[in-house]
């Protein structure tokens, strides 16, 4: 099971990664901004189970990245991470095909519960 994490903050990437790790999910792909993510996404050689995208990022932002990903992959769940409870952006994200959003900072336990809710078949 592979998780694709995109966030310009290394701290946050680490938090997400270590949270996943502590629940036994070891396989992650990281990208530090939208452009980097898109490069890695286009050269992907395995199946991703879940995308976790930050909304505010330099270069290509989360919403633009989301649009790009959805052009090629309409099924895999995508979670948007956002610091502000910016409803309009979130509703836009939803329209662009995001599965849903989580407002930072989040409780690790709840985070995992949400992840498991989404990857469960």
């Amino acid at each position: 099971m592979t998780f694709f994490i995109v966030d310009d903050s290394a701290v946050l990437r680490t938090i997400v990664k270590s949270t996943l790790l502590s629940y036994g999910y070891k396989d992650t792909i990281e990208a530090e901004d939208g452009e980097d993510a898109l490069k890695k996404f286009n050269t992907l050689n395995k199946k991703v189970s879940l995308f976790i995208l930050d909304v505010n990022m330099p270069n290509l932002n989360g919403l633009e990245l989301l649009e790009e990903i959805r052009k090629k992959d309409s099924k895999t769940p995508i979670i948007m991470l956002t610091t502000e409870s910016d409803k309009e952006k979130m509703i836009l994200a939803k329209e662009l095909g995001a599965t849903g959003w989580i407002i930072k900072p989040f409780d690790k336990e709840k985070f995992i519960k949400i992840i498991e809710m989404l990857i469960k078949k």
Binding site: M90, A93, G100, K113
Partner: protein, 703 residues
């Protein structure tokens, strides 16, 4: 059982604030459902609610779409709530057969509040929940005024009263239950498009929100003590309001064709029944069957349909951008000018041709009509602000822990939408003042034999080409001595002059910069913005503010502003070769000077002695760049103006008089060159005039 109810309330809170995609909330909802499931499985009394299918669906959810599963959850919640209400009533009603639902009550019976639950925790939860819903409803309602077709907003308001109804029923807060019930009836009709939203209905709903909020604050202010609360509740008449809603439902409800035909005596009840019976078998309209059965004539039906469509008042709106509207107003202003130029021209030529005369008169009439229509397009009812002020008063009184009733008069009065922007802030300031400094606390009011509930009356009405807005509170009034003391402390007046001051002079001291009567600085007012700023803002739109007050009884702020910014009441003067227009509101007196009354100061400044006072004189020529002028004061006219509570005399060559002035914007070059003009105008004879921006003018003078 009570616990389950609490969980349900909690669930409702999450559901109502849930947006599709909000994963954290979705998780909460799922977890609450797990809790509910556990509860129901472990209590055999609740086996009715063991809805395995629903629980299973929710457990499997990874995305809650509002349209599909939402309704089943709402049904589920309601079934539990209903069971609860019954259960609660059964436990409370003993030997009580007095209650008869069908009897219309218009006063509180002895047992009206008999089921009022004495449970502080529950009541706190209840108040919090209702308040949150009311806030949401209020926001939605404000939006609805602009966009009455927004179903989501209608639903928000509906859910608010729906929740209020079921929760208050459970807790025995029957007055809130009855209000919410009536409101819910109204909102169902709105939601189902049986009643069109219009401002009267919005007002009524606003009032209902305010009403429930008041009732809740009584509960909170009495620290959820139910005996004290009920004592106050029975003094508050809710029935009038409920009756009003019922009347509205009747008035606005689209009548059925059958109803109309019965009312006009064309059909009797039996025939209606017969037709309705038939209608269940045949897919035909009521009227069709009635005609087939030869019960009514074609004509009867046509009249009834006409009658039906008349009973629905339908107003259609077109959205136009502000910019376009302002352009149109501008163009019409020009049209009015050109029309009057042509009229004058033809008059001078005096052709004696009667057709010319008739045609110009007609042209004038049409132009005036167009002008009036265009100006009215930019007009909006003042209720737009009033309703927001109501919200401000609610919130303020709530922060202060006071109970304040708001009365609005003349909220349909219309004024220029551009002005609305300018008066909102000053009015907010005044109502906050009224709530904070005007209205006393409940204890003090009771001690002074006043109604414990304070009152603020906001009213508006037309006075000629202006609109008068008043904000009146029945609070402690303003003490004159306090004003004088304060003014002395802040060195705003000379101690020797006090005896000369009229009441009006004294109250006007409050509008001076640097004045503050508040003994203490509170959260609400005392934010460093004084009445001087309010006055300034009002004057910026050529308005006036006055105050009247009686110690211990009331304070009333009266604002008079022009209906529109595009046309002002101007006072036309001639300086040098051109016409200059002063805003009429600032003009106090026109004087033909006498040399004996003029004195000179060492610095060359001139003073006029008028009505026992010295007034500084201003030679307007220099500021208007009319350099070549005759300095003989006796050949000039002095216009005395009242500016920031001081009098000044402006010297001009001559005066033309008061006129309605259509303001046109000056071309930018001119504007930079002379900031002291707010615009220009063209007169009927083709000559142009400059409209003086009095603030900039005085600023320049002081330099």
């Amino acid at each position: 059982m009570k616990e389950l109810f609490e969980i349900i309330l909690n669930l409702e809170k999450y559901l109502y604030s849930y947006d599709e995609g909000d994963l954290l909330k979705l998780l909460e909802i799922k977890e609450i459902f797990e809790e509910i499931e556990n509860f129901i499985i472990n209590d055999s009394n609740l086996s009715d609610f063991n809805n395995n299918e629903l629980f299973e669906t929710i457990r499997a959810l990874n995305n809650l779409k509002k349209d599909n599963i939402y309704d089943s959850i709402a049904d589920f919640i309601n079934s539990i709530k209903n069971k609860f209400t019954n259960y609660n009533n059964e436990n409370n009603i003993k030997n009580d057969n007095k209650i008869n639902e069908s009897v219309q009550m218009n006063s509180y019976s002895d047992d009206y509040f008999i089921h009022f639950i004495d449970d502080k925790d529950m009541l706190i939860k209840f108040s919090d929940e209702i308040k949150e819903h009311l806030d949401n409803a209020q926001m939605a309602l404000l939006d609805l005024e602009y966009d009455p077709s927004n179903n989501e907003n209608i639903n928000k308001v509906f859910r608010c009263f729906h929740t209020a109804k079921s929760s208050s029923a459970f807790l025995g807060v029957k007055n809130i239950e009855e209000i919410s019930h009536a409101m819910e009836d109204l909102l169902v009709l709105i939601r189902d498009k049986k009643i069109n939203i219009q401002s009267e209905i919005i007002d009524v709903i606003f009032y209902g929100i305010g009403f429930i909020r008041d009732l809740i604050s009584v509960l909170i202010n009495n620290d959820y003590n139910i005996t004290k609360t009920i004592d106050i509740y029975i003094k508050i008449n809710i029935f009038e309001y409920i009756e009003k809603i019922k009347r509205i439902i009747e008035t606005y409800h689209t009548k059925k064709i059958g109803e109309i035909l019965v009312n006009t005596g064309k059909l009797d009840d039996d025939s209606v029944k017969k037709i309705l019976d038939k209608q269940t078998h045949e897919n035909k309209k009521f009227g069709e069957i009635a005609i087939e059965e030869k019960l009514i004539s074609q004509n009867d039906l046509r009249n009834a349909i006409l009658n039906q469509s008349l009973s629905v008042k339908k107003i259609n709106y077109v959205k136009v951008s502000n910019e376009r509207l302002n352009n149109l107003i501008d163009m019409v202003g020009e049209l009015v000018i050109i029309q009057s130029i042509i009229k004058d021209m033809l008059k001078e030529q005096n052709t004696g041709d009667q057709f010319t005369g008739r045609n110009t008169t007609q042209l004038e009439a049409i132009t005036t009509n167009i002008k009036n229509i265009v100006l009215s397009m930019g007009m909006v009812p003042i209720s737009e602000i009033f309703n927001k002020l109501r919200v401000v008063i609610r919130n303020t009184s709530h922060e202060l822990g006071k109970t304040i009733d708001v009365e609005m008069v003349g909220e349909n009065t219309e004024l220029d939408r551009n002005i609305i922007e300018y008066i909102y802030d000053p009015l907010v300031h005044l109502v906050r003042n009224a709530c904070d400094h005007g209205i006393e606390t409940q204890e003090i009011r009771e001690k002074n034999n006043k109604n414990p509930i304070g009152k603020v009356i906001i009213s508006a009405n037309h006075k000629g080409s202006s609109i008068e807005i008043s904000i009146k509170d029945d609070g402690k009034g303003i003490n004159k001595q306090k004003i004088i003391d304060n003014a002395l402390k802040n060195e705003l007046i000379n101690p020797d002059n006090i005896s000369n001051l009229t009441n009006k002079d004294i109250y006007n001291l409050m509008f001076l910069p640097g004045f503050s009567t508040a003994d203490r600085v509170t959260e609400i007012s005392g934010r460093g913005v004084g009445l001087d700023v309010v006055k300034k803002n009002i004057e910026n739109i050529h308005g006036k503010i006055d105050i009247s007050t009686e110690d211990g009884k009331f304070t009333n702020f009266i604002i008079k502003i022009p209906l529109t910014l595009a046309i002002i009441d101007g006072f036309v003067t001639i300086v040098g070769e051109k016409k200059y227009i002063l805003p009429f509101v600032i003009i106090d007196e026109i004087i033909v000077p006498d040399k004996n009354n003029i004195s000179f100061l060492e610095n060359g400044e001139m003073l006029l002695f008028n009505r026992n006072k010295y007034i500084s004189l201003i030679w307007s020529f220099e500021f208007f760049n009319e350099i070549d002028y005759n300095k003989d004061i006796e050949k000039k006219i002095i216009i005395i103006i009242n500016y920031e509570n001081k009098k000044y005399g402006i010297i001009v060559d001559s005066v033309v008089g008061k006129q309605e002035i259509v303001i046109k914007s000056l071309n930018e070059v001119l504007h930079v060159y002379r900031k002291i003009f707010s615009g220009g105008t063209i007169f009927g004879d083709g000559s142009i005039g400059f409209v003086v921006d009095i603030d900039e003018f005085m600023e320049n003078v002081k330099k």
